[in-house]
């Protein structure tokens, strides 16, 4: 399971404020805490209006000074992504390519040349795909497009675009339904979801995020953008990996137990 830490995102108020103030110590600490908690990769989103490229550039440098894991460059601005790419000390993941024409035009050449990993997010010009069939159709077009340019399936992470449960369970169920279908149709392709969206607008959000993950993993999900500092989330991932036969001899599970990582934190 590829765990991408989600916390360094300027959509979060604390990160936006510290990024605007160029508070490197704060950002470094958030980066370190995520990696210590088990993140394999860190999402970095510098989405501040009119200064996205500068923010992303600053964040990439600060995070790379703190930790050694690869980055997942997250931006709606292809120009900002392109600039940040040149700063990365190891090959990053691109978050994300969609069916929007200007994103394809800007990002496809980058992904094609670089051998980068890329999240293929099921969003078209008219917005996020809804229902299982539209998600599958969008996923097919994106994977076919990337594959035609020589991107290996193993470098593609299809994100079926999770929606809040508060808007109705149909879209949550559609995401669960489409994951095994995408993975069966394109053997070797990965699937990834940003789980935190699902709980938007409902109480006890953390519980929903924590339980959504094993539900997705039971359908085959093998990458996630998540808060790795949520201890129960990480416990659930480790237990689910073992139960799904993805943790040979339960070695990771037993290691985590010995390290005291499988007991809930007490307040």
């Amino acid at each position: 399971m590829l765990i991408i830490g989600e916390l360094i995102n300027c959509a979060r108020k604390s990160i936006r404020e510290r990024t605007e103030k160029r508070d490197a110590a704060y950002i470094r600490d958030v980066a370190l805490r995520q990696v210590e908690a088990g993140a394999h990769m860190l999402d970095v989103n510098g989405g501040i209006p009119r200064q996205e490229a500068e923010s992303l550039e600053w964040l990439v440098n600060v995070v790379q000074d703190a930790v050694d894991v690869p980055l997942c460059l997250d931006s709606s601005d292809p120009g900002a992504l392109k600039r940040a790419l040149t700063l990365c000390r190891q090959p990053p993941m691109i978050n994300s390519i969609t069916e929007e024409p200007e994103r394809i035009a800007a990002l496809l050449p980058l992904v094609k040349e670089s051998g980068l990993k890329v999240i293929a997010l099921c969003i078209s010009e008219s917005g996020p795909a809804t229902g299982a069939e539209a998600r599958l159709a969008t996923a097919r077009r994106l994977v076919d497009l990337l594959a035609a340019e020589g991107v290996p399936l193993a470098s593609i992470y299809v994100d079926p675009c999770a929606m809040p449960l508060s808007a109705g369970p149909e879209e949550v169920v559609a995401v669960l339904e489409v994951i095994p279908r995408i993975m069966a149709e394109y053997p070797g392709v990965h699937t990834s979801v940003g789980v935190s969206n699902v709980s938007f607008g409902l109480p006890a959000r953390k519980l929903l995020n924590q339980v959504y993950l094993p539900l997705l993993m039971a359908r085959g999900l093998d990458a996630v953008v998540v808060d790795p500092c949520d201890r129960q989330i990480m416990m659930n991932i480790i237990a689910a990996e073992a139960l799904l036969g993805r943790d040979e001899f339960c070695m990771e599970y037993l290691r985590a137990f010995r390290q005291g990582k499988l007991e809930p934190m007490r307040a």
Copy 2:
């Protein structure tokens, strides 16, 4: 999700000792706590060598004096089941019919006449079914047998027979694989698993039980034999039901939140 409380089982030392002493107050308390925690039905197992029928009979009476939920009569002794059946004030579930000839001979007439619910456990004469195909084949034979006798599919709960993860993940994965196949092949049939077995022989057992449940539910499981007094298990079930679209307008989820049931207990 049908939640069958597992705690009144003479395989557990405390229950066996209190049953031998005929400590009705203790048993009543265990019954009450399970129902208050959300159990819809209580498993009652009187498995004490050479006195199973008497123990089961005593337990059935004590539990029925304490709570109003139906019972799930759990015994390897068809005679004990038959005797306990006559004491039940509302139609119980039989746990369980298997492919063992003497159980079929003794239990099929009871199930056929009574309109009871029955757990069809994937065990044959040669022992528990292993692998997905053998489980499916055993499930087919059991369901076909029951259906031929007029038992409605909606009264049948196929239990694919969960095995400990410590014996290797193959059987855990096979159970997950077979659940949707059984439910697709026999529309209306239920599936049920006793989850606690899965964690036998591993540390942090509760975590494995807690995470196993959403994994099973993601594949369609709609009944479970479980410790309802494990608060995190119940939280996970409630959240999974909402996320899987089985809780209209998240009404049960929101009710549980208002009742303070969605926060982990603090030590």
